[in-house]
Amino acid sequence: MINKIILISFVVVNLSAKEPEQGKNVYENHCIPCHEHLPYSLQKIYMLYLKTFSGELTFKASLKAFLKSPVEETSVMPDEWIENFSVKEKSELTDKELDEAIDTYWKLYDVRNTLH
């Protein structure tokens, strides 16, 4: 019986610990590799999104919508950028993966953590 409890506890702890880890992996594996070679850093893009959408929910919903269906009209990037690099391709990630990646992105650059 005790062995069962220990096993279940181990699985639960492992799963809950795995979720953010997964989000971080999605972000690191699917976002950073492309963006790290671009002149506009992810942090700068974050500030553009923040300036345009303000709140966390609006920010995340707008970014997700863009990633799922990227068009010039909904892009927050400057015109020069779009002229040079065009609009990104549609993301192949699932909704869950996108949510996890965007959560990680939000937390990483949230201004509340840095302002003092």
Partner: protein, 403 residues
């Protein structure tokens, strides 16, 4: 008849004073209410003006802070110090009303009121179009100007006092204007009495002197009765003359106070009124101890004369008058018609009479009261309708001879 200025008649009667007091109370209540209302409006307009000034100041601060946020947004995260000022405090909130950063003293913010006044602080909210650092709502907080409040209150108090004084002067002026017809009527009556009084003196003196000189022994019984009636009538008129003279002429003369033997005085006045009392078969019952009082002789005689005269006038036929004199008081008690309890306080008013069937002007007890008040004596009236009236006059310590 012309209306002359007379010190005695210019004095307001009690009823006039009472009317004056009521009018002034009503007038001042209304004035104070109107002034309070005006003060409130003035305060509100000044408050609006103050808020308008503060709004301009807050707007300038907000503009300044937006520029700082714009620069910080551009340089973020290399620069991450939230812009602060010694002039104001601020807070930024995102579009979902979630706090980003705040330096406010008062943590509660109002998103829907452009200007918020709470806890001695004024807070303004500005809505941003470009969400620098995610800011949709920018709050600017400053301390309320406390000098403004004391300044405005001082202005209201000073202006209110000046207006109140000016209106009080106007009030008094209007009261005098409204009371003038009433005062003129009283003065006319007083002047008429005064003029008539002069003409009464000589014939009454002549009648009384001649009656005194008549030899009653040689006259028949019928003529004696007739003469007695003439004597009574003349004395009644003489008594009225004395009152009128006192009221119109002697009232303002300087008192000539001296020690008066009250026992002798009362006996003398009883003897004077004996014929008058005899006509109604009213009997005197005297219980007089020796007493002296330091007072004007004419004035105390007016008091006693009027009290005895009333006791006879309003007595029953065949009634009695008990006069008691002790060291520091005297009592005159009659067995007359009495006075209704609610009218007891009015008997001292001038031109008020117990009973319209009796003659007189209703000035006797008014004279009594004026003398009583002048010498700070105490008068008490106890009356039972149909049984009689008891009037007690107490002398104050110092006016009676303690020897």
């Amino acid at each position: 008849m012309s209306v002359s200025k007379n010190k005695g008649t210019n004095l307001l009667r009690r009823s006039e004073k009472s009317s004056l007091r009521r009018f002034l109370a009503l007038y001042f209540t209304l004035v104070v209410m109107i002034l309070s209302l005006l003060g409130t409006f003035y305060y509100q307009s000044k408050e609006k003006l103050m808020y308008s000034d503060q709004r301009t100041i807050l707007s300038n601060y907000a503009h300044e802070q937006i520029q700082q946020l714009r620069r910080l947004h551009r340089d973020f995260p290399q620069k991450s110090d939230y812009p602060r000022s010694s002039e104001f405090r601020s807070a930024i909130y995102d579009i979902e009303r979630s706090k980003i950063f705040s330096t406010l003293k008062h943590p509660e913010v109002n998103f829907d009121k452009e200007l918020h006044h709470q806890g001695g602080m004024i807070t303004s909210v500005t809505y941003l179009d470009d969400y620098y650092l995610g800011t949709k709502y920018l709050f600017i907080e400053i301390d309320e100007d406390k000098d403004w409040y004391s300044g405005v209150m001082m202005e209201i108090f000073t202006l209110g006092t000046i207006i109140l004084v000016v209106l009080a002067i106007f009030g008094l002026f209007f009261v005098n204007l409204f009371l003038r017809p009433m005062k003129n009527s009283i003065m006319l009556l007083d002047d008429f009495i005064k003029d008539t009084t002069h003409e009464l003196n000589t014939p009454i003196s002549a009648i009384l002197a001649n009656i005194e000189m008549m030899n009653l022994e040689v006259m028949g019984e019928k003529n004696n009765k007739k003469l007695s009636r003439i004597n009574i009538a003349a004395k009644t008129v003489s008594h009225l003359y004395q009152d009128l003279t006192y009221l119109t002429l002697d009232h303002n003369r300087k008192s000539n106070d001296e020690w008066i033997d009250l026992k002798t005085l009362i006996e003398d006045r009883v003897e004077y009124f004996a014929i008058l009392a005899g006509s109604k078969k009213v009997l005197f019952s005297l219980d007089l101890n020796y007493s002296t009082i330091f007072i004007d002789g004419i004035k105390i005689a007016r008091v006693i004369d009027n009290l005895i005269s009333n006791a006879i006038k309003y007595n029953k036929r065949g009634g009695t008058i008990h006069i008691t004199l002790r060291k520091d008081y005297f009592i005159i008690k009659d067995s007359g018609i009495g006075i209704e309890a609610e009218k007891v306080n009015d008997i001292f008013e001038r031109y008020t009479r117990f009973n319209s069937s009796e003659g007189g002007f209703g000035i006797g007890l008014n004279i009594v009261r004026s003398i009583i008040e002048e010498y700070s004596l105490k008068i008490e009236v106890a009356s039972v309708l149909g049984e009689g009236t008891t009037i007690r006059v107490d002398f104050l310590k110092g006016t009676v001879d303690d020897k």
